[in-house]
């Protein structure tokens, strides 16, 4: 039940807000990803929860407007290419066990986004990864991890 800093060799997953900032080409995130790649050679991974969040926007837009324009279709294809170009960590049984431990111990009045963040954190912990995020809510999640697990966090500013 602890939060720790990322170390030079710590593998990271991108939180959804960092993935979005990357797609918006926010300078701070572009630089942080480049520095990470320069150390570890791989790009930061995604979790299957982040993939869900990235595709949710396209599906939600399609459902709302009943049709989707050609440009948005192309952008969805490229989003899928981007996902395919990253390692994606699955929400497996170990992730589920960690998530159950964390979520039941979180305060009940947390922002709703924290629950999805907890699933991302649980996936990262299960695979031995840290999380790159701009959301301080992860510190709260880190206070409720199982005893032997340290949630390593890198706070990246867009």
């Amino acid at each position: 039940m602890a939060v720790g800093p990322t170390l030079p060799d710590t593998s990271l997953v991108l939180d959804s807000n960092i993935l979005t900032a990357w797609r918006y080409q926010k300078l701070g995130v572009l630089q942080a990803i480049a520095a990470y790649q320069s150390r570890l050679k791989l790009l930061p991974a995604l979790t299957s929860i982040t993939v869900y969040e990235a595709l949710y926007g396209f599906e939600n837009s399609a459902v709302k407007s009943n049709e989707i324009n050609e440009q948005t279709k192309q952008d969805r294809i490229r989003t899928e290419q981007l996902i395919k170009s990253c390692d994606v960590l699955s929400f497996n049984q170990a992730s589920a066990e960690i998530a159950a431990y964390i979520i039941t111990r979180l305060p009940k009045n947390i922002p709703k986004d924290t629950l999805l963040d907890a699933l991302i954190a649980a996936t990262a912990l299960a695979h031995g990864f840290g999380v790159a995020t701009r959301d301080k809510g992860f510190e709260l999640i880190g206070k409720h991890t199982p005893d032997h697990l340290i949630l390593r966090l890198a706070f990246w500013s867009p």
Partner: protein, 358 residues
């Protein structure tokens, strides 16, 4: 609770030609060369054929030598059109390593990454004198995995050079073996570094000095341990790293009451202490680890080492461009809509009527 991590295979990809190619009919005396442009077209790498190409009705196979132990095999499957004096078909290119030494993997993965980022290589034939581009597309993830294997091979080359040991890479490698290689590399190349750590157990004598040291500090605290000898196993070889100073950052005593009780006896007996870093950080300072007395490499290898920044820059530019393209051509409103956070969290919301759980 456990996580199963599959060993990562150490094998190069096959580059497949995505479009039909057409080359002049090769003859046994054609002497083809493979030509590869490095990122930014700074210089060209040339690789001659080994022997003569194997020419059959529907395929051509040519082996090019890249380095000791390393070959690139070009295979073109298709058909010859005698009337036009040409061969058309699909190609594939893959590397072969005869002895799985780190240098061989370093060279092979560097070149395949260069080719992958360029998206093409050239085939030059002396007779008849012709140069042909062979184009293909390689997944970015595949290229970044090559750079990752390249880094591991380079680290092994450094360890070999500093220790005089020689390694052979297995066909697959576990995450813990990769971490072991990184740890020894940092000990040799950086000497001082912070590493992740769980619990540490050791014994201290029950003396006034140790009692004061361990029990009068407010937890968590940073604690230096007396230097002791380290060795680490790399691919089955034990590497002695000599004595190291260790500082456990954000340390807490896990068995505090038991340690207090035993140390307060002041009878000099050894007491088992379990210390854990709350933030999982331990600083190592290796003063006696093997050194790289000669930091120079053979010119050919040095040129490939020097490509690192160019390879990283080229790869990251491709990734950034791909990320940007996912919102291309959309209005600000459309962008906001498709990047809107999902509200699935509402399904998890717990009735707060009984108060805060905190």
């Amino acid at each position: 609770m456990s996580t199963v991590t599959l060993d990562q295979p150490i094998a190069g990809p096959v580059l497949q030609g995505s479009a039909p190619i057409s080359i002049p009919l090769l003859r046994p005396d054609s002497h083809p060369y493979l030509l590869i442009n490095t990122p930014g077209e700074r210089y060209r790498l040339e690789f001659p054929i080994v022997g003569s190409p194997i020419i059959e009705d529907n395929k051509i196979i040519a082996r090019f030598i890249v380095d000791d132990n390393v070959y690139l095999d070009l295979k073109i499957v298709g058909q010859s059109i005698e009337s036009e004096n040409k061969f058309t078909g699909q190609f594939s290119l893959f590397y072969q390593i005869e002895q799985r030494r780190p240098r061989a993997h370093f060279v092979a993965d560097t070149l395949m990454a260069v080719i992958g980022l360029a998206g093409r290589f050239d085939l030059e034939i002396s007779k008849p004198k012709v140069s042909t581009n062979l184009n293909f597309e390689l997944q970015l993830l595949e290229i970044s995995k090559m750079l990752c294997r390249r880094q591991m091979s380079y680290r092994l080359m450094v360890i070999e050079k500093a220790t005089g040991k020689q390694f052979l890479l297995p066909s697959a490698i576990s995450k813990s073996e990769i971490e072991g290689i990184a740890f020894v590399y940092h000990a040799i190349a950086d000497r001082s570094f912070v590493w992740h750590s769980g619990k540490m157990e050791f014994a201290v004598p029950a003396t006034q000095e140790k009692l004061a040291l361990l029990l009068q500090s407010e937890q968590p605290f940073n604690i230096s341990l007396e230097p002791h000898s380290f060795s680490e196993t790399v691919l089955g070889e034990s590497i002695s790293l000599g004595s190291a100073k260790i500082v456990i950052v954000d340390a807490v005593l896990r068995n505090l009451n038991e340690v207090r009780r035993e140390l307060e006896k002041l009878d000099g007996r050894l007491v088992n202490v379990t210390i854990e870093s709350l933030s999982g950080q331990v600083r190592y300072e290796f003063q006696e680890a093997p050194c790289l007395s000669d930091k120079s490499w053979e010119e050919k290898i040095q040129r490939l080492i020097d490509l690192e920044d160019q390879l990283d820059t080229a790869l990251i530019a491709r990734y950034h461009a791909l990320a940007a393209s996912t919102l291309e051509g959309l209005t600000e409103e459309e962008k906001a809509e498709i990047t809107m956070p999902s509200n699935i969290g509402e399904a998890f919301l717990i009735d707060d009527s009984k108060g805060d759980n905190n």
